[in-house]
Subunit: 414 residues, 2 copies
């Protein structure tokens, strides 16, 4: 089964909104054996939407659209569908009454705009949206399914997973898509490719490989797909293990495992508690760690020290250290690393101090200079990273390196 | 001038990578008067790429592609271009020598894969990439420009801004695109739309309006475009001010101003220093604040207290408060808010404690229950938010509400 995704909205075409919906849809469909042929984004115009529907209907079994279903005036998707299917708008009274009831229970007022929202194409089969007022609309014409969802991400995902996927599961055939992904950190694309070249050459003919680099880390994705892929899958599984072993120092896990989740697993298995002393990353490292469900089992907490005063008073960094070496120095991050352990009583800790930019650099310490330490009460590793000029990227880059440093420390010491 | 964007990569079509490149390209082009007709994502296949190029060439003056230029085997964009333009691959020795020199200076080894990378279509004019090895490629055929860039986001943006935009500026005509965006927080799309309905009706005929909701906030974008838009622009500017006034309690700024930047401006103008005591948001609020350049001028630091122990010992929350009311309670966030001020000496502070989920809820306090306080030494505001089941969304939602609460506190008290 093949699908096409059409995301509708001027905000996407002017770059004001990043289209995250397509990735969410693609992930869910793929996991259910539906492969995506194309993703297309068009403006909020009836012609644009109609052209988009036409181009996708051509070679897709199902076309999914997001956006343009809200109660305000810019929402014109329903008019495009009406025209595309040569249909009329009718007042969907039954659905409206349901929504009205929910609104009244919550003390919201139903407005003219809401009533207008339920004038919808007569051919649309409506699917209830528990997260908002706009329902999902399903059309079936000339053997193609069309499913229209709102653009608000959590409403879209709710309709996709709870309403559409059960329908697709019923209808899908035997086509299968099989992915294995190797998660690596600390080496570039070419280094990795060279190391596993000999093994990649042995992969089955229908397999494909993709290297997906991101700040400091690379995912390597292997895929096979088709109707009869049992053998290819087994062969891929066998070689995948070999490649993982070959890339040992860099490969830390599989299948979209976040590095922070891997660190969490390491900490749990060794009964260690972690704390952080963040300066230039300003909370980003803590966020990376705590966005993993269950992180409260091993994360003790952290101090974000944005001033000299706090580095001294809270973390116990010596005044002389700050005066002689500065806040961005190996000496300071070591004292921060020890200080946060004293402060929180955790077993291991990470500290980071750097110049995130875009200003604040000096000739010795240009923007992007970042020092980090990680260790326990006795031992520690330190690392200096020279990043770029982009503040947010520097923070993200520093967090990846810091997590990787902790990984190495745990491997070595525990 | 019109443009089409083609992003190439299986990783996009299986949802493994969110296509952020398109938004970055769209933003830059739009700001330079180039409007985007369509954004299309296709798989790493020669036919897919060629079909994509064809469909965009039709009605776009320029077609931009990203992805598929790296040194590894999955990179086939150059073969698609070669075929599309009926061209041959030639060894671009001059560019290769340059890259080799840079590699050698940095102590990297040039491999077979790298040499292979510089066999490129003969018709391609190469543009130097200072951030990586793959150059930008420019083709001009049948009056259409084609510009191919790598998929790595910072390499792409570098080539776009430093190499392509100067060329486009030289060639672009008089077409103009004009946007004004109103940033709001604390009200839904329908509430906002109702309040400004009367003014929106007076907008010039060529103006369009879009509501762009996100967790707890809505951007409202007004646009006019064309060759002669001086009058429409003036009229939009006039009505924009009226709408901003009308939406006073919710509208905090314009033109993509992040809420955290606005808070920073408020703090600076009133000479206030801020500190945070985060529990369930785990650093996310600190990250939101510190990713704003210059935030060190007003951000004192924070404590992330993930355990009872730390709430007591560091923030001075009373043992009885935790025992009687629990960590997620109004009483606890008030003591945290006061505690972090004592601890850091800041003027104002925010505290947050909640159940981020996906587990850990109780019948009284289900997942998504989040308490927050903000204030100074004497006064405070508190707020309880009932969010959803998604851990990451709950953190983001809580941060928006907390910033908005601080905004209200500053307006009222200072």
């Amino acid at each position: 089964m093949t699908a096409g995704i059409l995301t509708i909205g001027d905000e996407i075409l002017i770059g004001q909104t990043i289209d995250t919906n397509s990735a969410v849809i693609a992930k869910h469909l793929n996991a259910n054996g539906v492969s995506i042929k194309r993703i297309l984004s068009v403006a909020d115009t009836i012609e644009g939407i109609i052209e988009g529907l036409e181009s996708l209907e051509d070679d897709c079994d199902i076309v999914l659209t997001t956006g343009g279903l809200g109660p305000t005036k810019d929402d014109i998707t329903k008019h495009a569908f009406r025209k595309y299917f040569d249909d009329d708008l009718v007042f969907k009274k039954e659905y409206f009454e349901k929504v009205k009831k929910v609104f009244e229970e919550r003390g919201f007022k139903v407005t003219e705009a809401h009533i207008n929202q339920f004038h919808l194409p007569s051919k649309a089969e409506l699917y209830q949206n528990n997260m908002g007022s706009a329902p999902g609309m399903l059309f079936e014409e000339n053997g193609t399914l069309f499913f229209s969802m709102p653009g608000v991400p959590y409403e879209m995902e709710h309709l996709l997973v709870e309403r559409l996927l059960p329908i697709l599961k019923e209808r899908s055939g035997d086509n299968e898509v099989y992915h294995r992904t190797l998660m690596t950190v600390g080496a570039g694309e070419t280094t990795l490719a060279n190391q596993i070249e000999g093994i990649v050459d042995q992969l089955p003919l229908d397999a494909s490989v993709a290297y997906l680099p991101n700040l400091g880390s690379v995912r390597i994705r292997f895929s096979v797909s088709g109707n009869q892929i049992t053998d290819s899958k087994a062969e891929l599984d066998r070689l995948f293990l070999q490649m993982k072993e070959k890339l040992e120092p860099f490969a830390y896990g599989e299948d979209e495992l976040p590095l922070a989740k891997h660190i969490g697993d390491l900490l749990i298995s060794r009964h260690l508690k972690l704390s952080l002393a963040e300066s230039c990353t300003g909370g980003h490292l803590g966020h990376e760690i705590t966005k993993i469900p269950g992180s409260s089992a091993y994360f003790e907490g952290s101090v974000i020290s944005y001033s000299y005063l706090q580095k001294e008073s809270i973390l116990g960094v010596k005044k002389e250290t700050l005066l002689i070496y500065g806040a961005v120095s190996e000496e300071t991050v070591i004292e921060m690393q020890k200080g946060i352990i004293r402060f929180t009583g955790s077993d291991v800790s990470i500290s980071i101090s750097g110049i995130a930019g875009p200003t604040g650099g000096t000739p010795d310490k240009p923007v992007g200079t970042i020092w980090m330490a990680c260790g326990n009460k006795e031992k520690y590793f330190t690392k200096k990273v020279m990043a770029g000029k982009n503040r947010l990227k520097n923070m993200e880059y520093a967090a990846v390196h810091a997590l990787n440093l902790l990984r190495q420390f745990i491997y070595e010491v525990y």
